[in-house]
Symmetry: C2
Subunit: 191 residues, 2 copies
DNA sequence: ATCCTAGGCCAACGCATGTTGGCCAACAAG
DNA sequence: CTTGTTGGCCAACATGCGTTGGCCTAGGAT
């Protein structure tokens, strides 16, 4: 079959990418149920049946459209007191550089599969960082969970609900207020 | 028409309440789109058409089902340094005493009308408290917004996404970690 | 006893959705 | 040039949705 080791370039790759891009936009804007395959297909300027051909069904499309690499900083690479600020900064960049995370959060709020995918990301990408930065690794899950409440809460109110006073906050304000919170959740002694 | 001043008891009030209760459960569990009128009617053990008769349409049903009074504590009634803890405690109680807030958050994440309703609650019930507790009332919106990110983030991860490490947190742990955060957002000098 | 109203159900409509299978054109290999 | 494969579209399907209108029945008022 495909003896070629490198990714075998298919002639339809352009279409496939167009579908994924349109899907991300729609999922981010409308959530899972209201992002219809027909609308996604129209955005990608192809027939709805092509979506099925390439991704099987709607769930498969979502799985293919939303793949996240948080690219969190390596804790060892910076001063221990700066980890809070570095994480907040990284999260702000992540949410603004593309719509994948907004799509994931919107879908996760309504869809079981979406929620489970977020749990997976937390487990495999957030937890390892927490383990390496927490004073007592046994407390890592709780501390990582606390940090997640603050960071996801920011994303929720700013990028999903678009609560006006949260949208109005400047990047520097957010950094200045939230960095100490995250720093404390991860490194301060238990209260 | 209704010259009677007190609420005119209709014979159908039991049914109406059953519909609202079922609606809250379904909206909380499934979000707006997947909470179907048919399913709600089945839960309430009546015909779907009754829902339309009493609430006009699905949007009207949602509006009737979620009406929230946060019942936030009056800042003047307690020591200034305890306001953070009091607010966190009140929020935990609110989210656990019924499903209205979960429904509202799930719907707000996907539905424009739901998001606007949350903005209304923030404006009319959260802001007034912030104005009375903030050192500089001009900063009240930003500070209230920050508190909202933390509290809604907790609700999101604990009651909607059900991130296991967040669900595992004990009430006392949450209070001990989050109270200082809220206290700082509302009353500490700007960083 | 007789109206009349309100509570309730049934059956159906129109529509949008996810999904399927068949058909056609363009490209690649022989 | 022929042949097989791939990319693509069209038309349709079954289903479930919100919503509507008509009909029946039981209370309450007179």
């Amino acid at each position: 079959m495909n003896d070629v080791n490198d990714t075998p370039r298919r002639r339809s790759d352009a279409t496939r990418d167009a579908i994924l891009t349109a899907a991300r936009e729609r999922f981010a804007a409308d959530g899972y149920e209201r992002a219809t395959i027909r609308a996604i297909a129209k955005d990608a300027q192809i027939d709805p049946s092509m979506v099925m051909r390439y991704y099987g069904n709607k769930e498969g499309l979502f799985a293919a459209a939303v793949s996240v690499d948080l690219g969190l900083p390596e804790p060892a690479s910076l001063p221990r007191d700066d980890i809070g600020r570095a994480l907040v900064a990284r999260f702000l960049d992540l949410w603004e550089e593309n719509e994948v995370l907004t799509a994931l959060l919107r879908v996760g709020a309504t869809n079981q599969a979406g929620a489970e995918r977020m749990q997976g990301i937390f487990r495999e990408q957030v937890m390892p960082v927490a383990v390496r930065v927490c004073p007592d690794p046994e407390q890592a899950p709780a501390r990582a969970a606390l940090a997640a409440t603050q960071l996801l809460g920011l994303a929720l109110t700013r990028y999903v609900l678009r609560l006006p006073p949260t949208v109005a906050l400047a990047r520097e304000e957010i950094l200045a207020w939230l960095a100490p919170t995250i720093q404390r959740y991860l490194t301060a002694p238990s209260p």
